[in-house]
Structures are given as C-alpha cells and as structure tokens.
C-alpha cells in the first residue's frame, strides 16, 4: 500500500511538471505490477477533475502486442470549433449490465462535456454493426466510437470511415485493421495480462501443485476470450496444469447449464475455477452449490477457489462473503477515457495507437473499500 501511495505521489509530481508538455513527457511504465493498475486506476478516480492524468494510461505497455507495434498517431482536426462535437457510438449489443454501465458512462460523460452522441445498437449482429457505422458516417459525425462485436466484419465500414476522414476509436475489443490507418486507437484492457494475473493468483493458492482448472470461457473466438486464455496458459502450461474449458458466452443465465454439466462429470478432478467474466463466476457459485461443491477460498477445507475478470458488485459480494477468491477489474466506465483522448486529438495532439485500460485486482483485502464506489 505504501508503495502505491509513493507511486501516485511520484506520478502526480511528474505530471505536474511535464503534463503540460503532453507527449514529450514520456515516462515508460511497467504494466506487469498489480500496483500500477491500482494506482493508475485510483488516480483516474480520485483526480477525475484533471483529465490530464489520463495520459498515464499511455504508459501501461500492452502485452498482447509488441511494444514496437505501438505508434503515436494523430489526426488533422478539420471541424470548425464553434459547434459542439458530434460523436457516433456503435454499441455491439446491450445484453448485460456491463454494457449498460458502458453506455451510461459514455452518455453521462458526453452530457457533461456538451458533446452530442448519436447512438446505434447492433443487437449482436456484426452485419448490422457494419451498417450502423455506415449510417453514422452518413450522419457526418466528427468521431466514431465503436465497440466491435467480432474481430472480422467491419472492414468495409472502416474503409468508408477512412474515406470520409472520420476517426474511429475502438473500445473494449479490437477488430481487423491497422491502427493509425483504419482506426486511430483501441482502448481496451490488456487481457493477456489479465489472464496471466488470474493464473498467478491461483498459483499463489496452490504452490507447487499440478492442479486441474475449470475454465469458463467468454464467447469462444472473441479477442477478449482468446487473450485471456492465452495469458492464463502462459502461466499454467509451464506449471503443468490441466485445463477443462467450456463456452460461457459472457452470460450468467446461459452459462449455468454448461458449467453444471462439467461439474457433475468432473467434480472430483476440479481444483479451481477461472471464469472470463463475473457473470460466469456467479453462475459457477450457484452451480457448485447445486452439485454439492463449496466455492470459497479455504482450500484446506476443500473449498474451490474462483478467479474471474470483471468487478461486478455481485462478484465483490461473493469475495466479501468468502465464496470467491478474486476478480480482476475490467471497467465498463469508458466515458471519461474515450472523451479525454478525443479531446486530445481535437487539440492536434498525438496519442498512442493502443491504450490499455488498467485493471485492479479485487480480493478479500481490498474489496470492501471498492464495493460501493467501483462495483457495477
């Protein structure tokens, strides 16, 4: 904790000195330390008023792509300054409250900044999303915020946007295309890092053990799930863990059934559970109870620890009540971050082509502090 406080103090000083200099104030930070995530994320929360602090986001080095692939990109802002910004927002779907939070965050921030939002919901269809983006281009928006449903399928829309010189900012997932060309930047979590950290959390619980981990994946084939699996395996495989995977589709109701099936057939094998989203973790808790297993952190007592990604209030409740080990924050609060970078682009600054959303680890030690303020 001390270390964290020192870090944020240093950060504040550094930014106070160099912050006005913008991109010249390059301080490369190591992203692998959990503390960094806490501090950056806390700084965002605590000093929200000073949007400049978002600059620090740029210094979390992504692990899903090589550092050499990250570029500095800028745009030629051609919009006359007098009228308010018009930003198009293409959401992939709104089927859980994570998306509702994401929407609410973007709308709230846009309202605070006096920015007009034109919203389209693709209703889980990549084809509709592509069409939505083309519609928004026709509406002559100044920027496009896109939460891509799938990696492939938006190429045509990207081409049209490039032709219309409308910068696209991808949030929470990436898509097929070249940063700096097809889209300006992609703001998302570093899910390889999250997967790795989740595996490390379990490794701490089972030192020197070859365990069997039940992995409840998100939508199979989505970049998020692929990265999470990749990161998790980068730790698990060298340790010789066995991994059983099912598709949970990032959905609470939908994942109960597949989880139960595995729990029934492999109930004696499973030592730990890794879920890609808190929804699946909650479902796993319910399913375990149903089949007579006990979720929890008391491994000596035969309880099965669950690690997840998210930050749902429900998951925090589970951690607090000892039914879940930990969850790694995947914040839906994109609004302040996205508009911070849009404003930087408006001021003809250059930004990084990949911006990592930091993610805190919530466990029994800190969850009570964050449940009201950060839980969603």
């Amino acid at each position: 904790m001390n270390k964290g406080l020192v870090s944020i103090f240093i950060l504040t000083i550094v930014l106070a000195v160099f912050g006005c200099g913008g991109k010249e104030a390059m301080i490369w930070m190591q992203s692998s330390e959990n503390d960094i995530h806490h501090e950056v994320s806390d700084a965002f929360r605590d000093v929200n008023a000073n949007a400049r602090l978002f600059a620090v986001y740029e210094y979390i080095e992504p692990t899903d792509i090589g550092p050499d692939q990250v570029k500095w990109v800028g745009i030629n802002a051609k919009r006359p300054k007098e009228r308010p910004l018009r930003v198009g927002f293409s959401q992939m779907e709104v089927n859980n409250d994570w998306r509702i939070y994401e929407n609410n965050s973007i709308f709230q921030e846009a309202e605070d900044l006096g920015i007009d939002i034109i919203y389209r919901d693709a209703e889980s269809s990549i084809e509709k999303q592509s069409q939505d983006i083309l519609d928004l281009i026709n509406e002559e928006v100044d920027y496009l915020i896109v939460a891509p449903r799938q990696y492939f399928g938006l190429e045509e829309a990207f081409d049209a946007a490039r032709e219309a010189e409308i910068p696209i900012i991808l949030i929470d997932r990436t898509a097929n295309g070249e940063a700096g060309k097809d889209y300006v930047t992609c703001i998302m979590g570093d899910f390889i890092d999250v997967g790795r950290r989740a595996a490390l959390l379990l490794a701490e619980q089972f030192p020197d053990e070859k365990i069997c981990v039940f992995e409840v994946s998100g939508t199979m084939g989505s970049s998020t799930s692929s990265y999470l699996s990749e990161g998790f395996r980068s730790v698990a495989e060298p340790l010789g863990w066995e991994i059983i995977s099912v598709d949970g589709d990032f959905d609470r109701a939908g994942s109960i059934e597949p989880i139960q099936e595995v729990l029934i057939s492999d109930r004696d094998k499973i030592d730990a559970v890794f879920t890609h989203i808190d929804d699946s973790a909650i479902a796993a808790i319910q399913a375990m109870r149903s089949v007579g297993l006990t979720p929890g952190s008391q491994i000596e007592a035969g309880e099965i620890p669950i690690v997840s990604m998210g930050g749902y209030k429900d998951a925090m409740k589970a951690i607090l009540s000892g039914e879940m080990l930990a969850t790694i924050e995947c914040s839906p609060r994109f609004g302040p971050i996205v508009f911070h970078f849009i404003q930087r682009l408006e001021e003809s600054e250059r930004i990084r082509s990949r911006i990592v959303m930091p993610g805190k680890t919530y466990d029994i030690t800190n969850v009570q502090k964050y449940i009201i303020t950060e839980g969603y």
Binding site: I100, Y119, Q286, D314, K317, S321, E323, I372
Partner: protein
C-alpha cells in the same frame, strides 16, 4: 323532380333525332350507372366499416384477455417469490454489521429468485428489497447505490395492500438500467413476515415496456392503434407513441366492449389535439387499466375514398362507353334518315330520278329506303299514267266534240232549218233550233265530264230529233228511261255517238223504215244502256272483230267508227268494270249494250 327536369329538357323546342337519341342514350346509361354505383358504394363502405369495427372489438377483447393473463402470471411469480421460505427466512434475519453474511445471503437468494423468474420468462426480472438491508434479484442487473427504503416507490408499495402497478417509467426503480432507452412497467407488493405479520420488505417485478407493446401490437393491423389508459385516462402505453391525457371519455364508461364514435381529445400538457375516431375499450381486471382500440375516422374514410375512386372510375368508364356508343348509334340511325330527308327534298323539287341506297345497318331503315324508292317509282308511274289518261281522255273528248261541231252536220242541220223556214214550217224550225241548242248545251256541259242520265238523254234526244227532221220518216226512234235511272250519273256524250253510228251505218244503208230504240234501266248497282236499231246490220265476222277491238285488241285496217273512244272514256272516267258489247245480224239490225256501275258523286266531282 328529375323526371320533370328531363321532360323539360326533352321538350325544349323541336330538335333533331340525333340529339334526342344522344340525350336518351346517355341518360339511360348514366342514371342506372349512378344509382347502381351509389348503392354499391354505400353498401360496400358500410360493410367495410362494420367489418373493421367488429374486428376492432374482437381484437381489443383478445388483447385485453392476453394482457390480463400476462399480468396474472406476473402476480403468480410475485406470490411464489414472496411466499418462498428462504426469502422469508433471509428477510427475517438481522445481519447487523456482518456484511459477509448479508452478501452471502444476497447471492443465495438471487438464485432463488432466478428460478422463480422462470415462471414468466417475459418479465425483465424481480427484486426483493428487505428492511434488514438484504437485496435480492433474479437477474444480473446490479442494484443502484441508494437506500431503497427512502424511495417513493418503496413507500407506495409498502403501504399498499396487494399489488401496486406502476405505469411505464424510464429506467428501473432499484436496478441499473439504461435510463435513456429503457422503460419499465413495475408491479410491487409488500412482503409480510409470516411469523410476525409485519412488513419486512417489498417485492418489485419489472416488465420491459416492449413486452407489453409487443402483446398489444401483435393484434393491431395497419388501420388503427391501441392505447392503454390508466384509471385517470392518461395514455400510459400506445402503439403509436401517443402521450397525454384523454379528455371527455368519462361519460363512456357504460359502453365497455362496444364501439363508439368520439372526438378523441388528447392533452399532452401543452396543447389539446382532437381526432375523430371509432373507439372501443375493455378494462384489464388485474390492473384496472383500460385497453382502448382506436381507428381514426380518417382511416375509414381512406377506405371509403378508395371505394369512391373505384366507383367513380367505373362510372366514368361506363358513361364514356355509353356516350361513345350513343354517338355511334345515333349516327348510324340518323345518317340514313338524313339521306332519306335529302332525297325527299329532291323529290319535292320534282326530281323523280332519286334512288337511295339500302345498305344501312338497320333493317327498318333499309325497308324505309326501299319503300321510299318504290313509292317514288310508283308516283312516277302514276303521274305518267295520269298524264297518259288525261291525254287520251282529252283526245277522245276532243274527237267527240269535233264530230259534233263537224261542218257537215252543222251544214246539213242549218240547211234543213233554211228549207223548213222557206216552207214556213215554223214549228219544225223552232224544234230544230231548240234541239240544236240543247245538243250543244249538253255537249259542252260547262266542262263537266259526268252528267245525269236525264241530261245525257236530252242530248241524245235533241240529236235524234234533229236527224229525224232531216231524214223525215226514214226512221222512228224511242227512248225509254226507267224512272229511278234518271238521276244517275254517267260520262257524257256516250249515247249520241252510238246513235250517230246507227244512223250513218244502219239506217242510211237500209233506206226503209227503221227504228232506233234506246232503253236505259238500273239493274241493282249497275246501269244498263241498250241501243237497238233495225238497220243494215253487220256480218258475224265484223261483230266479232268489233267486240275484240273493244276489249283492247289491236286489229289493223279496221274501222271502229269512234266506238273505241267511247269505251276508253268510260274506262278512264269510271275505272271499273265497264262492258260494251255489240250484237248484230246482217240485214236485221244492230244492238249495243253498255253496262256501267252506278257512278258516285265523288267521281263526278273529281
């Protein structure tokens, strides 16, 4: 009224057949078409209206039934959740500061509600908010960071007995939702601790407005829309984004389940808009809300307008055809008549050489033209005949007159008068002069062709008397006329030529005392005139030739002594069965018998 007008229209002045035909044709096509179309239009539009209204009624009953069924099932979900023993137990607990226990219970109860929500999959979710701080939900929507107990909706539910229904509101009361884009109908009830009877929490069921809209939209056709009204007649849900309060429908409470026409007034807070509609409504028993089906009269009129357009179009087509046919037919009928009229004009001017074609489409017109042609031909023929007859008649008369004033006769008579005068036979001179006078007077007869037998006989007698005086006692004569025959009419100058023949060809040749007896009698409707002489007579051969010549046979080199003239004149003047027969025996005498019909005065005056 119409008939009168038509009569006036048709009676105006004189007019051509063409225009009358045209007017009649068009009227006969137009009036039935208009009447038929009008009847068709009113029947069809009425039945469309009836069908739409009936459909609307059935639809509203169905929608209302479905909604009520749905709301009842929501209440069942609520009852199941509120009576759940685990929920009851969890709400009864006092967690104090044991947050871990409370959260653990939260998650446990979430699972209970999760399964309860399966009873009605259409609900968004249900939440239980305990007085002890526990908050349970059936779905993944996180609770808002608020003290639920302090919220108005919580208090409303807490104080109520039974279920409270909240009309659609943006966002959810207790959970995180997309406030901008989501609206919910909520239903709540207080949860009563079965152990103490105290209220220890509330149950809240959220139903996405879309679900209800889907139920009511499923049955709505394109022609109308459906509103759901709360007890104060505020529009709470509609299939057409209508908002506001309906004004003036308080008085229609009694007409539930029936259609009525109303000027629908909607006040949305700022202004009141009015629309004329056909409406029907039904109350949803569970919520006390009303489902109202609305069909704008404009919409019905639109159907009517389509019909009207259709019938109007039909009318125009039929009338167009009628006018076309009328013009064609009138032309076809009147053209030959016009031709006929022109031909008649020619005839009027005296041109008898007119001949009109008979190739018309119409049989009657052809017959007319044919008859006209025949008539013109007949007229022509008649005129020729009359001309010929008159010519013959005048010629015959002229001959007779010529014979009467022939100088030989006149000279002989005047010579006789001279000699008698010298012999001082005054009385005979007087008779002779008087007879001559009578002879000429009757012969002229003021130009008349027909005279009475009395006059004809006078004429004959005057002639015979003259000849008698001239020829002395060489012949005697007698004339006997039946009393009734005296007044009868005959063509003039018939008898005298016969007497002349008797004298010159009979009496003169015989040289002895002869007789010339004339007898006239009426037999039925015929008049028989017989003149008999006892003169030289004729051979049988000659008599036969004479009679054949009188029948019209042409016999060359045969002297007829003017008898042909007599017969011709009789035939021309009487035009009927006339016979004139000679009988004779050589050396004994000759008899001629003329039989003619009794002549009427009309012919006489003609």
């Amino acid at each position: 009224m119409l008939g009168k007008y038509i009569r006036i229209l048709l009676r105006r002045k004189r007019e051509s057949i063409y225009s009358s035909l045209l007017i009649y044709f068009i009227l006969f096509a137009l009036i039935p078409t208009l009447i038929l179309n009008f009847v068709y239009y009113s029947l069809a539009s009425k039945s469309i209206n009836d069908a739409i209204t009936k459909l609307g009624n059935e639809m509203i009953v169905k929608v209302c039934g479905e909604l009520n069924y749905f709301f009842e099932s929501v209440i069942r979900v609520g009852d199941v959740a509120a009576d759940n023993q685990h929920i009851q137990t969890a709400l009864r607990m006092d967690y104090g500061s044991d947050v871990a226990l409370r959260y653990s219970k939260d998650l446990e109860m979430d699972a209970e509600l999760y399964f309860a929500s399966f009873l009605q999959p259409k609900i968004e979710g249900l939440s239980v908010l305990g007085a002890n701080g526990g908050e349970y939900k059936s779905y993944d929507r996180t609770f808002l960071n608020q003290v639920h107990k302090d919220q108005d909706w919580y208090k409303t539910i807490e104080e109520s007995k039974g279920y409270v229904w909240f009309p659609p509101h943006q966002g959810q009361f207790a959970n995180v939702s997309d406030v901008e884009r989501e609206a919910f109908v909520s239903c709540g009830r207080a949860i009563i601790d079965k152990a103490t009877g105290e209220v220890n929490g509330v149950l809240l069921i959220d139903i996405n407005e879309k679900v209800i809209k889907d139920i009511i939209s499923a049955e709505v056709g394109e022609s109308g829309y459906v509103l759901i009204l709360d007890v104060d007649n505020n529009v709470i849900i509609s299939t057409i984004d209508m908002k506001g309060k309906l004004i003036g429908i308080e008085n229609i409470q009694h007409s539930e389940g029936k259609s009525f026409t109303i000027d629908l007034q909607v006040n949305n807070g700022e202004k009141t808009s009015t629309q004329s509609v056909i409406a029907t409504y039904q109350e949803i028993p569970v919520t006390g809300w009303k489902v109202m089906g609305i069909i704008p009269v404009k919409q019905l009129n639109q159907w009517g307008n389509i019909l009207l357009l259709l019938t109007g179009f039909l009318t125009i087509v039929i009338v167009g055809l009628a006018v076309y046919t009328a013009v064609r037919t009138s032309n076809r009928v009147t053209k030959p008549i016009t031709n006929l009229r022109l031909a008649m004009g020619q005839v009027e001017k005296g041109d008898m050489e007119v001949n009109i074609t008979t190739d018309s489409h119409y049989e009657e017109v052809n017959e007319l033209a044919g008859s006209f042609n025949i008539m013109v031909a007949k007229v022509k023929e008649l005129m020729n005949r009359i001309y010929e007859e008159q010519r013959k008649l005048r010629k015959a008369e002229l001959k007779v007159l010529q014979s009467q004033i022939n100088p030989h006769f006149l000279y002989n008579t005047l010579d006789s008068i001279l000699w008698l005068n010298r012999s001082e036979k005054k009385q005979e001179v007087e008779i002779l002069v008087e007879s001559l006078t009578t002879f000429f007077r009757v012969g002229i007869s003021r130009g008349k062709d027909i005279i009475t037998i009395e006059e004809e006989v006078k004429h004959l007698e005057s002639y015979l008397r003259i000849q008698h005086i001239r020829y002395g006692d060489r012949f005697q004569y007698s004339i006997k006329v039946q009393e009734e025959a005296l007044g009868c009419l005959v063509p003039k100058l018939i008898l005298q030529p016969l007497a002349e023949n008797s004298i010159y060809h009979g009496v003169k040749l015989k040289k002895t005392d002869c007789r010339i007896d004339t007898r006239i009698e009426k037999q039925g409707d015929r008049i028989i005139m017989i003149m008999e002489d006892s003169g030289a007579g004729m051979t049988q051969e000659k008599v036969s030739l004479l009679n054949r010549a009188l029948e019209g046979e042409k016999i060359p080199d045969f002297e007829l002594y003017g008898v042909r003239n007599i017969k011709e004149r009789l035939q021309i003047l009487l035009k009927e069965d006339v016979s004139m027969i000679y009988e004779s025996r050589e050396g004994e005498g000759t008899r001629v018998t003329i039989s003619i019909p009794e002549t009427t005065s009309e012919i006489a005056n003609a």
